[in-house]
Point group: C2
Chain length 229, copies 2
């Protein structure tokens, strides 16, 4: 039974020292010394002092990219909603480690900014995927892709942070519910594209007027196929 690997010892030492003295008060020298390793070895395993806390964002990003590339969902938004679950599951899999990281990022501005930048990369990936999938270079479509990507990311982060704070017992169920909420925000426009569509778009209304008084207008709507507003 050999000692834990250098990378693990360094990470353990780093978290321990961050807890004891705080992030800024801990130098890379301190971490290496605590781990019984040299400073050079630290940077061989982690690109930066921050990276010891965020180990595998790159790997996870690739995982998401692959998932999206091989996904076969009915809409881009569903595909992205599905892919983002991987991120949540990854954090949950980390368990206590993720919570310790959250405690740090909550206090240290530098780390918080780094975390936010990582999230932005996911969001960008989502946006590009959705835009490609729609294949519509319109300005409106572009904005829509941006809004969708932002909503998925926001919903995910919302659930993730709740779980990190210990406010969520079943984050997987919550993220599914949150994604349904996002899907409700963006009713699928597919059904409107053709002329001979089968689907029906249902709209509820309430008014002070008697229903019969509205019938002429309703009849015109149905006959002309015009959409008000």
């Amino acid at each position: 039974m050999s000692r834990p690997s250098a990378a693990i010892r360094l990470a353990d030492a780093a978290f321990a020292l961050f807890d004891e003295r705080g992030y800024e008060q801990t130098t890379v020298d301190d971490i290496a010394e605590r781990a019984g390793l040299g400073r050079t070895t630290f940077f061989r395993h982690y690109r930066s002092k921050e990276a010891v806390i965020f180990p595998d964002h790159d790997r996870l990003l690739e995982l998401i990219r692959d998932r999206l590339a091989t996904s076969s969902h009915s809409t881009a938004l569903v595909a992205v909603s599905d892919a983002v679950r991987l991120v949540l599951l990854h954090y949950i899999d980390e368990g206590e480690l993720a919570r310790r990281r959250y405690a740090l990022t909550s206090k240290v501005a530098t780390l918080r900014d780094r975390e936010i930048a990582s999230v932005a990369r996911y969001q960008r990936l989502f946006r590009e995927f959705i835009a490609d999938w729609m294949g519509d270079p319109t300005e409106a479509a572009s904005l829509r892709a941006e809004l969708m990507a932002a909503s998925v990311a926001a919903a995910h982060n919302h659930v993730l942070r709740r779980w990190l704070r210990g406010e969520s017992a079943d984050p997987v169920a919550e993220v599914d519910e949150a994604m349904r909420e996002v899907l409700r925000l963006f009713p699928t426009p597919d059904a409107r594209s053709g002329e001979d569509q089968q689907g029906s778009t249902v709209v509820a209304f309430r008014t002070g007027q008697d229903l019969d008084a509205l019938l002429p207008a309703l009849r015109r709507l149905v006959e002309d196929g015009q959409r008000p507003l």
Copy 2:
């Protein structure tokens, strides 16, 4: 007619050198020397090398905060949509400077991350404002606030980036249109709260069925005031 202030000379020197050699290839010493000032003076005016590019995010954030605090709009989302225009107008007011900054942030990862972190602070402000305004501690409301804030920020960034890239002739009109799109995503639930409401919510629908066949269901809707879905 005196020389321009130290802060301005430093910023000019910084942008010039960033253009000539690139951001990483320029040291603070270089900037100070070009400006005919000492290194210490640079850090007296700008907290960091990055800060010389992003001068007044803090001030702008306060401006937004004030605007929100004194706003009297019908809904939180409208108030935020209004406030975010200030950000856009600020960038437009900067003109060419904003575009030079964009050129830099597009190339240098460090600067891009910093810019993203700034945007996140606006988004956080929006989220907190909306959550406070709603005064509903429910999980669903919290998620909704998060989605709203993210959507407003995303819509704003979309228009801003288009303008920065020179793709938008009238960014103010575009941001107004984008905000209308965001408002459409979140239909106001205000009208549903009371019993004796006056307003009418209109919904259009289309179906293969004959209108008369739907009448019974419609009558029930109107009478019971129930909401389908």
